[in-house]
């Protein structure tokens, strides 16, 4: 188990280094960083001095090492457009994105799993068939369209829920702001998290359903029924637990995707999160933000995958033996 975890950690580290190389390349070679930083009236001498001061004349490997060690301390340089350290900008935006992502992941799991179990167990029922066809809509409509649809229905027509922003937020700790503690904050969360989680919900539901159908055909489920175990035990203790390994894999990847690619939803709902910041960075060629964003998403994916791998060990005892 420890050997396995160490091996995975080393792999994760290599992935992070490769991503860092990409981010560095982008920072260093896509356009001249000095040209982006200074105005037109800066003289050539001043530019050269700045270049020297920023260490841009050092050998490339030295620059890369400096980039990595700074990144490891959350120092991603200064944003070109805002003239602020990127890490400060991120710190302001991250709570919004994380809250949105976790709420929508929670929504996807809390709705998707029961629906999947039901559809897997009652394959022929009308409700299952309805779940399937409705979920097909969820999977085939683009996110922005669903967002606009929801806004039109619940904000414009019914006027129940706000159409943009986070509502009132409360400061928790030194830099975290949360929308969970105010009514308007919670109301503002509903539409964007449903929009963002709908696709994942569909995916999880269909996955659980397929896995359940697979598992209830196995001999050990038949044997459990032949021993007279009540349906509750057969379906949840035996069947559901055996469907979890693939479900956790996909859920982990999807959670990463939710956090990293909330961009469209954030734009539609004008959500003050990372996605919006990233879009502005792209429009203004703000390379430090882009390369930091790249590093951050890679880190999220690697971390989630690592957790998923460790979770396997808790779920499946067959993985625990035979490993050093």
């Amino acid at each position: 188990m420890i050997g396995f975890a160490t091996r995975r950690l080393i792999q994760a580290l290599i992935v992070m280094l490769v991503v860092a190389l990409l981010a560095f390349t982008m920072f260093r070679f896509v356009g001249d960083p000095i040209n982006q930083m200074v105005g037109i009236e800066t003289s050539i001498e001043e530019r050269e001095a700045l270049r020297e001061r920023l260490g841009l004349n050092d050998p490339i490997p030295v620059q890369f090492l400096r980039f990595v060690s700074k990144a490891a301390q959350f120092d991603f340089g200064t944003s070109y457009q805002f003239r602020q350290p990127v890490s400060e900008l991120f710190a302001k935006r991250i709570p919004a994105t994380l809250e949105l992502s976790f709420t929508s992941a929670l929504f996807a799991l809390a709705v998707g799993i029961p629906m999947g179990i039901y559809a897997g167990l009652n394959r022929e029922s009308i409700i299952s068939k309805m779940f399937l066809s409705v979920s097909l809509v969820g999977i085939s409509l683009p996110t922005f369209f669903i967002g606009i649809l929801l806004i039109f229905l619940f904000s414009v027509t019914l006027q129940w829920l706000p159409s943009f922003g986070r509502g009132e937020t409360v400061q928790v700790g030194s830099w975290w702001t949360t929308g969970f503690l105010t009514v308007s904050g919670l109301k503002a969360l509903i539409l964007p998290s449903v929009t963002l989680g709908l696709y994942q919900m569909t995916l999880i539901m269909r996955l659980i359903r397929a896995e359940m159908l697979e598992v209830i055909r196995t001999d050990y489920i038949k044997f459990a029924r032949a021993r007279g175990l009540p349906n509750r035990l057969v379906n949840f203790r035996h069947a559901l637990k055996n469907t979890l390994v693939p479900v956790i894999t996909i859920t982990g990847l999807q959670l990463g995707a939710i956090i990293a690619f909330a961009t469209i939803t954030e734009t539609v709902f004008n959500w003050p999160g990372m996605g919006l910041l990233f879009l502005q960075a792209v429009q203004n060629v703000d390379i430090p933000i882009m390369s930091a964003y790249l590093l951050l998403t890679a880190f999220l994916f690697v971390a989630i995958n690592f957790i998923v791998d460790i979770l396997y060990f808790y779920i499946d005892p067959r993985l625990r033996v035979g490993r050093p």
Binding site: D219, Y220, R225, G228, R237
Partner: protein, 573 residues
């Protein structure tokens, strides 16, 4: 009084246009402490009887007529909840494959305890104590410790013991065992059968054993019911039915069972069972392409000589050689296969017999030793052209006829592929002609070529495999458990076909099987393998009449006795 009483049971499976009658008007009884065997081939409806009794018929199957009584109380029409409480409490069930019938994610203890507590009003402490007692009773040593383990930490035989313990959790009056030993080795099979018989007598349980294996029936049952296509064709005391079968189906079934005590020239194939696969159009081998121009170098002496063959697999890899772990699958094995003979390799699972087949064909590369085929050393062949030339001379027939044929290819293309690959024919029309002849010769008929593999039964697929193997005009054929997935009557046909082909084409064969009885019927000489080592090589008759190695004697002792079986229809050699 009878524990189980089945009266006029009919089970139907409605299909889109017709109704399939899986069990038709069947009557059976089992007394306490007695074992009733239900025997038949696949599709006979024997498992359906068991599922109908316990109330686990696969949808849309249902009991269309008849009654099932347990201790005189009718149980087939009970509401769902009461039926569920019968399962496990009054009726226990044992399944075929111990590797898949336990939940891999739960400890043995938690599966036992949940079952006990479902049926008996015990505290979890008492239930745990009872679980340990049960595990001890089914003969698992160290019950207190082993019970905390997960199913994958038990061997196949031990898992079947756990399954039996689970079936006995709440002291049921009736136990239904559906093919309880089919997935096990002979030595384990003998132990499990003994355990079942013992438990049946000690606990006065009535047992319904469903099996296709006449040996199991002969070994443990008191009464036997023979089923054929949903009908009960014969029913009576085991000694009576097996010794003097009355119904023609029972007679043909019994005579098709290969037995270790008698060697027969050909298996009697009784047309009652399935349209016997006689060749539709015999081809004259002496003039046909198949028999002609086999331009192989002449060999004097043995065709295959194996010396000191070693094969080990890396179980755990590591960059440090000292940390690596190996599994020695084949250890210093050496034997010869004479031209034109059938050499048998017999052993239990994991004994390394299939590994040897793969080493000879070059699917694995040995870690040591030599394989001499004719005058060529196979282990040192590197040139692709030489390798191909060797592969053309040896072909293999695999165990599972369902996975060894490409489902997306037509039969004609499957058989024609090796001919085209080795460029053995000059034109496509010649290939076509050869394939048609081969299909005729293995008893399928040329029109089978346009179909896909899924349109054939297991036995017919194995015929396709044989035709494919013959398509390169090999002189050495390796059969790896060619009939172990087939019913006995089909097995008899396939074995006859192999015997005929060997005679006509002068093939040399390596025949691998776990079934000593089949080995006896097919082979001239036999090697017995255990844990990768060759224990004994001797002539067929000598091995059975005068075994030298203790392990061989053990294997022979463990075989279910077939002495009960009628000897009518057998032409002894």
């Amino acid at each position: 009084m009878n524990v189980l009483d089945i009266k006029h049971l009919t089970v139907e499976f409605p299909a889109r246009k017709s109704v399939f009658v899986a069990v038709n008007n069947v009557n059976m009884q089992v007394e306490a402490g007695k074992i009733l065997g239900v025997v038949g081939e696949s599709g006979a409806g024997k498992s359906t009887v068991g599922n109908a009794v316990i109330g686990l018929l696969q949808e849309p199957g249902h009991i269309a007529a008849g009654e099932v009584f347990l201790h005189g109380n009718r149980i087939d029409n009970l509401p769902y909840k009461e039926k569920r409480l019968l399962r496990g409490r009054k009726i226990g069930m044992i399944f075929q494959d111990p590797l898949t019938s336990l939940d891999p994610l739960q400890t043995v203890e938690s599966q036992l305890v949940e079952t006990i507590r479902t049926h008996l009003p015990l505290s979890s402490k008492d239930a745990q104590r009872r679980a340990v007692e049960l595990i001890d009773a089914v003969g698992i040593p160290n019950a207190g410790e082993r019970i905390k383990q997960y199913p994958h930490q038990f061997s196949g035989g031990m898992r079947q013991r756990v399954v039996i313990a689970l079936a006995l959790c709440a002291e049921p009056e009736l136990v239904i065992a559906d093919e309880p030993t089919t997935a096990l080795d002979v030595s384990i099979q003998a132990q499990i059968l003994e355990l079942m018989k013992k438990l049946c007598e000690e606990r006065n349980v009535a047992m319904l054993v469903i099996t296709h294996d006449m040996g199991v029936i002969a070994d443990i049952t008191d009464h036997v019911a023979v089923m054929y296509q949903g009908d009960l064709v014969e029913y009576g005391e085991t000694t009576q039915v097996l010794g003097a079968p009355e119904h023609p189906y029972t007679q043909s079934l019994i005579s098709a069972v290969p037995r270790p005590d008698v060697k027969v020239e050909r298996f009697p194939v009784v047309n009652y069972i399935e349209k016997a696969g006689t060749p539709q159009k015999q081809i004259d081998i002496s003039t046909h392409w198949l028999g002609k121009s086999r331009d192989y170098e002449q060999v004097t002496g043995p065709l295959v000589q194996i010396r000191d063959l070693d094969m080990r697999f890396e179980v755990r890899g590591s960059i440090f050689p000292s940390q690596r772990k190996y599994f020695q699958a084949v250890k210093k094995v050496g034997f010869d296969i004479e031209q034109g003979e059938t050499f048998g390799l017999v052993g239990e699972s994991g004994s390394g017999k299939s590994t040897i087949a793969r080493l000879i064909t070059g699917l694995y590369h040995p870690t040591g030793g030599s394989i001499l085929f004719g005058k060529t050393e196979l282990t040192s062949l590197t040139n692709r052209k030489d390798v191909l030339a060797m592969r053309r001379q040896m072909q293999m027939i695999f165990q599972d006829p369902y996975s060894s044929l490409n489902a997306r290819m037509r039969v004609r293309d499957i058989i024609g592929e090796p001919i085209k690959f080795h460029k053995l024919a000059s034109s496509n029309s010649e290939v076509r002609q050869i394939v048609d002849d081969l299909l005729d010769h293995v008893g399928l008929g040329a029109q089978a070529g346009t179909k896909f593999p899924h349109e054939f039964s297991g036995g017919q697929r194995q015929r396709i495999s044989i035709a494919r193997a013959l398509a390169t005009r090999p002189r050495f054929l390796i059969c790896d458990e060619p009939t172990s997935a087939l019913d006995v009557s089909i097995q008899a046909q396939i074995l006859n076909l192999l015997k005929d082909l060997q005679e006509e084409l002068g093939l040399t064969m390596l025949f691998i099987s776990h079934d000593l009885a089949v080995i006896r019927q097919m082979c001239n000489r036999i090697g017995v393998m255990r844990n990768g080592e060759l224990c004994e090589v001797s002539d067929c008759d000598q091995l059975f009449e005068n075994p030298q190695h203790p392990y061989t004697r053990e294997l022979l002792d463990l075989m279910p006795s077939m002495e009960l079986l009628s000897r009518a229809n057998l032409e002894t050699a």
